[in-house]
């Protein structure tokens, strides 16, 4: 229960409407009970009187009650549920901001599906329990005592007797629910099995058809489906049992009313009209009682969800500003790696080992090496996505002493996976700029990224919506868009993480020249698989497969000595000739 308090507090912020909504519950219930009592009295009076002149007044009174009840019910639901949705908005926004604020180390270790589910189904579970769940609980808490109170005032014995089967109903539900839960788990499992079988057969259809085992596989599938059918039937039986027992207990209440109430009526201690009140009020408490059982099931889920959300909110970003962090307004862009090593986890192998390289401001460093040699990691360190061992400084100031805002504020970054938002094309460029960009400025950056012609050919040009993860753009177009976005930042240090791999050699040449033009005053770090992308760099760092430095030098120097760079260059040149273009 403790885990839910912070969330209850969030509801409390909207207390005016929440309390007004909660107040509507007893008022509505009172009107409802009043209707039953009034109708019962009318029947009683009808049996005794010989004229019906009074019935018009009764109907007006009832109409008053009915309208009051409708109005209260409306506001009860409207206020409480809307507040619960507002709390949902707050909660989701806070969680979202928490998530984007957490360091990359967190995102690296948590599965995104898990994180998303905290923000979606967990928030929903908590909202359902504290919003509508609370509403139904209060409803039941109010209507049951009111009804029982009215009934007690009519006849103590009948009321006491009918409490017995009603209590039994609660017990039956409690006893049978685990059974249903167990069966439903089995149904879920067999459903998962069906879907798994379908998945592997449809996915591996070549193997299935080549081996000619379509029918044999169908027979296996039929067995899975049969198991599911049998589980479903077993669960149906369990549900039937619960349904029958709960309703049976409920019906027994009427037997009790009939026998005790009927005998009391014969004894003239209970008027017939009051029998009606017993029947009608029993019908009215039935659903609230069932709802209580439903809410009890929700509670466990809400509690678990609350804990999961709290756990997420308690995460602390591992990379934060040092207390005396410097916030220079400008950056020259001189970067110095000295004996830098890095590993993702304390017990995983080093990704980078003792890397040292000095990059003077305004120069270009190329980083190459086989897949998995740590190129991306090395570039990530400059934006302080991770903290490393050894010393890494920018403009002579250790990177940990920079404030994140001013450090990252001067970086332009082009990611390897060419991540773009599914938004209008121009918005992706705007994303890069600190200030509002004019259309002309956007066109200029796009032109410099050698994308202008293609953007103009889009049906909606700069307003063209980029598909989910940019799928409507080709790989090369995405890469160039990311470059334009990074240029819009007017960075002091430009980080290009293998972002030219899908661009053909002709465009690459054009782009590199354009970048050099733009980057005259700017330091460029570029990682690449295709060596032609780094050939013009001032220095090239060659990393080995295990993250060591193999060599450091200019293109000419590296080519002159035997080694990975030399071999790879030769091979890539030959392949380029053979296929008539760059790979």
């Amino acid at each position: 229960m403790k885990a839910l308090w912070p969330f209850a507090y969030r509801f409390w912020r909207y207390r005016t409407r929440l309390l007004a909504g909660l107040l509507c519950i007893p008022l509505g219930q009172a009107a409802d009970v009043a209707m039953t009592v009034t109708i019962g009295n009318a029947i009683k009076r009808a049996a005794e009187s010989d004229n019906a002149d009074w019935i018009g007044r009764v109907i007006w009174l009832l109409t008053g009650y009915a309208v009051a009840q409708a109005v209260f019910r409306y506001f009860q639901r409207w206020w409480i549920v809307v507040v619960s949705r507002e709390v949902e908005v707050d909660l989701k926004q806070d969680t979202f901001e928490k998530l984007t604020g957490l360091s990359f180390e967190f995102h690296n270790r948590s599965r995104s599906g898990d994180v998303v589910s905290r923000l979606t189904s967990d928030v929903e579970n908590v909202r359902m329990f504290l919003g509508p769940g609370l509403m139904y609980t209060v409803g039941a808490m109010v209507v049951v005592p009111i009804s029982l109170g009215v009934l007690f005032s009519l006849n103590v014995w009948v009321t006491l007797a009918m409490i017995v089967p009603m209590t039994a109903m609660g017990w039956i539900m409690k006893a049978l629910t685990p059974r249903i839960h167990r069966y439903s788990m089995e149904v879920q499992e067999s459903l998962a099995d069906i879907s798994h079988r379908a998945q592997e057969n449809f996915g591996g259809i070549r193997v299935v058809q080549a081996a000619g085992i379509e029918d044999a596989q169908a027979a296996r599938f039929a067995r899975s489906s049969e198991r599911n059918r049998d589980n479903q039937i077993a669960m149906g039986e369990a549900r039937g049992l619960t349904h029958a027992s709960v309703n049976g207990a409920f019906d027994l209440t009427f037997v009790v009313i009939l026998v005790v109430g009927g005998l009391a009526a014969i004894d003239r201690t209970l008027p017939i009209g009051d029998l009606f009140k017993f029947i009608d009020l029993t019908i009215k408490v039935f659903w609230p009682l069932i709802a209580l059982g439903w809410i009890a099931g929700m509670y466990a889920r809400a509690l678990a969800s609350a804990e999961r959300i709290t756990e997420l909110m308690a995460e602390v970003p591992s990379i934060v500003d040092a207390p005396d962090a410097v916030q220079p307004r400008t950056m020259r862009g001189e970067i110095d790696f000295r004996d830098v090593s890095f590993r993702y986890h304390p017990d995983s192998p080093d990704v980078l080992q003792h890397v040292s390289v000095h990059v003077p401001a305004g120069t270009t460093l190329g980083v190459v090496g086989p897949t998995g040699s740590g190129k991306t990691t090395l570039l990530s360190l400059v934006g302080r996505l991770f903290d490393c061992e050894g010393s890494l400084s920018v403009d002579g100031v250790p990177i940990r002493d920079w404030s994140l805002a001013s450090l990252r504020g001067h970086l332009g970054y082009v990611p390897q996976d060419s991540f773009l938002f599914s938004a209008p094309y121009e918005d992706n460029i705007r994303f890069g700029a600190d200030e509002e960009l004019s259309d002309e400025a956007i066109h200029e950056y796009v032109r410099r990224a050698a994308m202008e012609g293609e953007v103009r050919s889009f049906p909606h040009q700069y307003k063209q919506r980029v598909g989910e993860r940019g799928v409507t753009l080709s790989g090369g177009q995405r890469q160039r868009t990311c470059i334009a976005r990074a240029l819009a930042k007017k960075p002091q240090v430009l980080i290009l993480d293998d972002c030219l791999s899908a661009v053909d050699t002709e465009t690459e040449k054009h782009l590199l020249e354009s970048l050099r033009e733009a980057g005259k005053s700017c330091t460029v770090l570029v990682a690449a698989h295709r060596l032609s992308s780094v050939a013009m760099a001032d220095q090239i760092l060659v990393l080995t497969a295990d993250g060591h430095m193999e060599a450091l030098g200019t293109h000419e120097e590296l080519l002159a000595q035997p080694g990975w760079y030399h071999d790879t260059w030769e091979r890539q040149q030959r392949r380029a000739q053979l296929l008539g273009e760059g790979v």
Partner: protein, 608 residues
Amino acid sequence: MSQYREHKEVVATKAWDHRLFQRLLVYARPHWVLFVKSFLVLTLLFVFELAGPWIWRRAIDGPVTTAWQAGLEADRGPYVRSMLFWVGLYLAMIVGATIMRYFQVSTLNRTGQTVIHDLRTQLFRHIQHLDLAFFDKRPTGSLVTRVTTDIENLAELFASGVVTLGFDALRVVVLVILLFFIHAQLALTVLVLLPVLIGISIAFRGGARHAHRHVRAKLATLNGFLQEVLSGVRVVQIFRRESRVAGVFAHHLHEYYQANRKTIFLFALFFPAMSLGVFLIQGTALYVGVGSIVHKEMTVGLFFQFWLLLEMLIRPIRELGERYNVLQSAFASAERIFQVLDTQPLVREVSQAAPLDLPLTTPPHLCFEDVRFRYAEGNEVLKGISFEVPPGKTVALVGATGSGKSTIINLLLRFYDVTSGRITMEGRDLREIPLTDLRRRMGLVLQENFLFAGTVRENLILDRPGIRESDLQEALKTSSADRLLDRLPGGLEAEVAERGVTFSTGERQLLAIARTLAARPPIVILDEATASVDSETESKIEHATHRLLEGRSALVVAHRLSTIRRADQILVLEKGEIIERGTHQELLAMKGAYYQLHELQFAVAVEG
């Protein structure tokens, strides 16, 4: 191929489609007994439920009223006995109703589940036999949905849709008739007001469905953005755009909230509106009823009965909207299912095709004659390919990605049919040979070696008949996969985890070779994997491949130098055409494209 062009998933939203219903009935017919049972159970339950109000009436008009009229001094014995009789009857009624309620849930459920099991199995079987062009056009996930979610929706259609809805209609009619018997004038007023309730119920459901769809769409946008930001969090952080994306998120969140407000409003309105509608009927009933009681046209007991029957009448109407929605989504699912069931495979058997007159173990002669092929709507991927695979010989296909190598093996397996030209086996067009006979003669080893959930043994045998234990053992030895099994706890009986993740790429290749060897096919089709493996496994695979190709007619998409060298003929492909052909030595001597490719291959080998 036009039937594949449009892959529609959004279909009819009618709540009742007679044509579809007729087709569904075909699947229900074999289980008519269950349907009769369901109706029987519902009928009995209804009778028991009707007995309740009747007993109340008789008890009130009988012992209670007469005792009341007899005065305080009368002997209460007969009244009490009479009362106890009605109580006994009421108890019996409850026992009966309780038993029927159990069967109501379990039999209805059983009926739905039994019918959909048949349909699901048939659907799966049908999909299994469709050609690859069908699979190319559809994501696996959407096909899985057909045999899961869509089928489950149909269970709802059979159980709560057809049976319950049909019976609800019957209940309403019977109840209205009963009301007329009790008090015609009262019943008439109810009948006049009933459409108000029906109207509210259906209008609300219609609105709620729209509103819900709107909420789902907004939620999808919100969650989509969340996913996107999470996958691009590196970019967001380096660009320092945390607050900007939070602003966008807040915007989506607000739209989602606004959409929610609409549904909350509808629900907040619906329940009070419905209870006001019910009050309209009950208030009128009370007004007329009290007048009748006072004027002795109606007894109090009769009024009780009327009132309780009224409650029974209102319930199905209140649920009408709900059932309407169930029907609607079930018919949409049925439409999607029949769309698949109506799709005929493009690769078809010629009727009465005779099996090949050649022993199943003898390698046949294969021949491609000016074969051209294009995928649906695509460009031509094969532009006149002609070559032969003499019995027991190996032909290797070499060329860049997209040169048409995989298409050639797909055609030989008849995953697709040629667009023009022909492929023959022992001089007979493949299309005139029964598919089972054709594929039984072929062994396929794919790049991505697909393992199914199950034991290793099941994966090696793959349900193919005629594989003896000795064949399996020999295949394991020949492929040297036996040593691999030695270190597995359980050996052949070990469970393969999902997609065979417990095996490395190289090990899976060995298993795939063993799988093919076990069936001892006279033809081998091999798509060599490009993924690099350690040198020990590499040499095992080389050896196993060699044994696999030995003495068989083989078509190989080759990546291994050793495989290419041993081939009897090498075809060099470029953009769907054969540009060079010959043995390894001949082609090297030509100093053409093959020579260059070979150089490249060597360089790659050094790098790896």
